[in-house]
């Protein structure tokens, strides 16, 4: 009986199109650069959250250790890096304990690279959806920007544990973490837009990106401090790689020691915004061909 009433209620729902004379939307071939259409993204926000939930559930469903992997992977990674670069190569760490130093770098780096990597293959993995249903395609790579936050949160908790172990007192600087995270997310999403759009046309990206990211990590001050670069000029140039800014920003927030200068910070922020905006426009431009070639 209950479901009966709900049917009736839904049926009397007045339809807005009753007297509408202007079309709800026009289908025309687009020419040149399309608009970003952020309003539509907002209308589909529920789908974004559901995709985020799906990403999280699917990644760790049917794995015995489940979420433990999220913490275990970077922990082992940091351990290996500490032994090779801290113990054997004896790289400097701005006076901080090397394992914590490298773990801070990894936290920022992992968020960036995991987001970029997962979302770059996301369109291909959802080819079925892309070729059969309409929705703003940007949501697919974008959903990974959010679902990877879980991995980030786990690593952040581990940083706090490390801090207690090494006796590093928390400061107000920790409040800057969300800010740096926001910048990282922008750049990662931008990279994701570029690569996911490219991957629809060129499957090469699936092979190129992991390699590219591997090299990128070593170019991003994860295992060594930016302070190793003596000249201020060169350091600003170094900051054109936005990940340097995130990694150093993180260390500044956690350890209080960092070679991050205001100039470097603004360069990082500028590059991040540029990567995001250019990626979004490139994505929108290639989007119209997705269903035909995927």
């Amino acid at each position: 009986m209950l479901s009966q009433t709900s049917t009736v209620a839904a049926d009397v729902d007045p339809r807005p199109s009753a007297g509408a004379t202007s079309p709800t939307f026009r289908i025309r071939p687009t020419k040149g650069w399309p608009a970003l259409n952020l309003r539509e993204l907002w209308q589909y926000r529920d789908l974004l959250w559901i995709l985020v939930e799906r990403n999280i559930t699917v990644i760790y469903k049917q794995t015995a250790l489940g979420m433990i992997w999220v913490g275990l992977q970077p922990l082992i990674g940091a351990g290996v890096l500490s032994v090779i670069f801290g113990r054997i190569a004896k790289l400097p760490s701005d006076g901080a304990p090397y394992p914590l130093f490298v773990f801070c770098g990894l936290t920022a780096w992992n968020y960036f690279s995991t987001t970029a990597q997962r979302s770059s293959t996301s369109l291909i993995n959802n080819a079925q959806l892309v070729s059969k249903v309409y929705f703003p395609r940007m949501l697919i790579p974008l959903s990974h920007t959010f679902s990877t936050l879980i991995d980030f949160a786990v690593m952040l908790v581990m940083i706090f544990i490390f801090m207690t172990v090494y006796g590093i007192p928390p400061t107000l600087r920790l409040a800057a973490i969300p800010g740096f995270l926001f910048l990282t997310a922008m750049a990662a999403t931008g990279v994701a837009f570029w690569f996911s759009a490219l991957s629809v046309k060129y499957r090469d990206t699936n092979y190129a990106l992991p390699l590219f990211l591997q090299i990128w990590m070593y170019a991003s001050a994860v295992v060594y401090p930016t302070s190793m670069i003596a000249s201020e000029r060169l350091r600003s140039l170094f900051a054109l790689n936005p990940v340097v800014g995130f990694v150093e920003g993180f260390r500044w927030a956690v350890l209080g020691r960092s070679a991050l200068t205001p100039t470097m910070f603004w360069i990082t922020a500028g590059v991040s915004v540029f990567v995001l905006v250019s990626g979004a426009f490139f994505f929108r431009r290639t989007e119209r061909k997705f269903a035909d070639i995927i």
Binding site: A20, I27, I50, R54, T57, R288, A291
Partner: protein
């Protein structure tokens, strides 16, 4: 014209078939493009126009209007542009020229279970699928019970859908889409899956949707009976252009006149066969006359034989395999199964089999018919349903006297016995 639901004007869509890289690899690599770059630049400099690619028009200047509450069928052969049209109306792909104005929210069901994720449970997939089709979360919540009840999967709500049977999958997918409440619903050939009972239920739901709520439905199908039943108006697409647009019976009649294929046998190659499921695959079907010779033309008084060979890969119980005959305007004429005579025949052991069904002569009205195949476990699961695999005609009985041979009303024309005496 405020009662328009959608207006399509000169809609065209072309694809470039590139001759330089073969389609075998499927995807172009960066290498291909880089290697071709010098040649392209060179060609441009010389302004040569040797065509390296060919344009294929999937749709060419298609124009039509659909009124609110109208149910429109779209028919046509494979590759006629039906699916491309739906994809453009659904904004999945862009037109090359022309355009369409759409008044209202569009919902679509282009393929069953699109957007279902196998790892997620039925419950999770209802929300995912609903959101993908454009529903708000609150809206889905409101309809959740109704959707689940319609799909009849209450017990399996928290089971990952990868463990669902194909029937359950289809039911859930259809249920979500049917409760979408868009003003315009685009449906592509999805009702041919699922068991017969659910098909009936889905058809009824669609009729209800169109009749009671005044929603506009565009329905693409290969199944003439379904189109004839559901849609008062039909458009026939041929080679990307509109070949006919009008009342369904007229359009379907025209379509069947042109597309009558004189083929007495159809076989499905092993390996790439879609004529079956894991457990059971059809191999070939043939139309034979009383002497066992393949033919598509039968005399009125002559029996008609349907012959079907199939392979069972996994033993099945209560399975029935049979034939459906429709007249070309879509009216079902009859349905017969191999278990009609022997109920124990429902048990199938692995192996290859041949069945033959003899339809007596002096029964079918002269005209054209289409033969469909069906295999399933009644009330539980539909295994294979193939519509219109072969077509045949029954020739006029050529009775003495011209008046005897005039067309008659009715679905069949049985030979009847007459007694007469003078009182």
């Amino acid at each position: 014209m405020s009662d328009l639901a959608l207006s399509v004007a000169n809609l065209s869509k072309s694809f470039n078939i590139d001759h330089r890289w073969n389609g075998l690899r499927g995807h172009r690599t960066l290498h291909d493009d880089l290697m071709n770059l010098p040649r392209r630049v060179f060609a441009r400099l010389r302004q040569s126009h040797r065509p390296t690619s060919e344009t294929f028009w999937a749709l060419k200047n298609v124009s039509f209007d659909v009124k609110q509450g109208e149910v429109l069928g779209i028919i046509g052969a494979n590759g006629a542009g039906k699916s491309t049209l739906l994809k453009i109306l659904n904004r999945i792909t862009e037109p090359t020229g022309g355009g369409a104005d759409i008044y209202g929210r569009v919902g679509s069901l282009l393929e069953v279970g699109t957007g279902f994720h196998p790892e997620l449970t039925g419950r999770e997939n209802v929300f995912l699928n609903g959101a993908i089709l454009g529903m708000r979360r609150a809206e889905i919540k409101k309809k959740f019970d109704e959707i689940v009840a319609f799909a009849e999967i209450e017990k399996f709500l928290d089971t990952p859908v990868k463990r669902y049977s194909s029937g359950m999958y289809v039911r859930l997918a259809f249920a979500v889409a049917a409760h979408l409440e868009p003003e315009i619903l685009l449906i592509d050939e999805v009702l041919s899956v699922g068991d017969a009972r659910f098909q009936k239920k889905s058809l009824e739901k669609m009729e209800e949707v169109a009749a009671n709520d005044g929603r506009t439905v565009i329905f693409v199908s290969h199944s003439m009976p379904t189109v004839a039943r559901l849609c008062p108006r039909t458009i026939w697409l041929r080679g990307g252009e509109i070949a006919a647009d009008g009342p369904s019976d007229e359009v379907i009649q025209k379509y069947s006149n042109v597309t009558f294929v004189d083929q007495e046998r159809l076989s499905w190659p092993e390996g790439l066969s879609n004529a079956g499921v894991h457990e059971l695959k059809f191999k070939s079907v043939a139309l034979l006359d009383k002497n066992g010779r393949p033919t598509t033309h039968f005399d009125y008084s002559e029996p008609i034989n349907f012959e079907l060979s199939y392979t069972v890969h996994d033993s099945l119980s209560f399975c029935r395999i049979g034939f459906l005959v429709h007249s070309m305007d879509g009216t079902p004429v009859f349905e017969v199964y191999d278990v009609d005579e022997d109920v124990k025949g429902g048990r199938r052991e692995p192996g290859s089999y041949l069945i033959r069904c003899e339809v007596p002569g002096d029964l079918l009205k002269p005209g054209r018919y289409s033969l469909s195949l069906n295999a399933g476990i009644p009330g539980i699961k539909n295994l294979v349903r193939l519509d219109g695999v072969l077509q045949f005609s029954v020739e006029d009985p050529a009775l003495p006297g011209a008046a005897m041979n005039l067309p008659r009303v009715g679905v069949i024309r049985p030979k009847t016995k007459w007694f007469r005496k003078t009182l």
